[in-house]
Symmetry: C2
Subunit: 190 residues, 2 copies
């Protein structure tokens, strides 16, 4: 008996949304099944190792989505600074829409489980590396040297991650707007 592949995607999307909002430990398997709309059997079919395996897939899924969004913005914007400003604007809108209950789809799970879980940590490492790579590439295109571009990309990703924590705590997009403004200054090639 084969389960329709759409259930795989539904489970991963539901898990990513729940982990982002409520954290990894606080999210139960039954809640993931319920939100996904998939039959419980399909969860154990696709993820025989349980929640850790779902979390790894959710981090890979969210990381791929993040990189895809950045690559789309990279094509639409002439400079890294303008791309990062546009990305922060998107984030601020998403956060406001969620009543500041969402945030980065991978950071909460990683703070709870890394580096103890090797598979989760590796999935997170790849997601951050993919995200940094797009920003570093745009900075090199602007004229920055490779080492400086890599460092500034790390600053950008770190600052956005941190701003998403502050935005939740302040229930306001102001920290994201502030960080965007400061980053735009730091990412200008002079």
């Amino acid at each position: 008996m084969s389960t329709p592949p759409r259930h795989h995607g539904a489970i991963v999307r539901a898990a990513a949304a729940l982990f982002r909002r409520n954290g990894f430990a606080a999210t139960g398997i039954n809640e993931i099944v319920e939100v996904s709309g998939a039959p419980k059997g399909s969860l154990y079919h696709y993820f025989p190792d349980g929640k850790n395996q779902i979390a790894e897939a959710a981090i890979r899924f969210a990381g791929a989505g993040l990189v895809a969004t950045m690559e789309k913005l990279e094509q639409e914007h002439d400079t890294a600074a303008s791309m990062v400003r546009a990305y922060c604007k998107l984030l601020a809108g998403w956060m406001a829409k969620s009543g500041f209950r969402d945030g980065c789809p991978i950071s909460t799970t990683l703070l709870e489980a890394a580096p103890q879980s090797v598979a989760l940590t590796e999935a997170g490492r790849e997601a951050f590396a993919g995200w940094c790579a797009v920003i570093a590439r745009a900075l090199v295109r602007d004229g920055f040297g490779k080492a400086e571009a890599r460092r500034l990309a790390t600053l950008t990703v770190s600052a956005i991650e941190g701003a998403l924590i502050l935005a939740r705590v302040e229930a306001s997009a102001a920290p994201i707007d502030d960080v965007a403004k400061s980053l735009v200054g730091a990412l200008q090639f002079k």
Copy 2:
């Protein structure tokens, strides 16, 4: 019957250490009791409302420690940039010592519980505000205008928070060192 006040502090310190390393939801009351060395009765004596109330105290305790560290560094350093560099160096050392299992003592709990828990969110908001205030004050002393100083302080706190996530995932202090280097550039008054 009164419980010795030292048990209050021991419980809060144990909770802060466990939440930082393993997250809020994954930490049980019994584990806090065990690590603290306090009798279980004293936990319910001081924290009749349970884990949320302990977490609020842990966030306030960690926030006060953070502000005290920053204020000490503020007195030892002439510029905000030099103070932030020294703080990042401290963090990198602490992270390495913990095998990259520690991190910010408040962010994991806040990502799991804010903004759903009003008391936790408020404690987190105050901790971040206190931290930002020391950095902004040092930047004003360097010559920055108030609005710019506040924005750069938000960048600094956000970037450090994010770098602590990346450091866990990479099991390396490199993201903290990278962010320190980029921040030192951004915080120079020209």
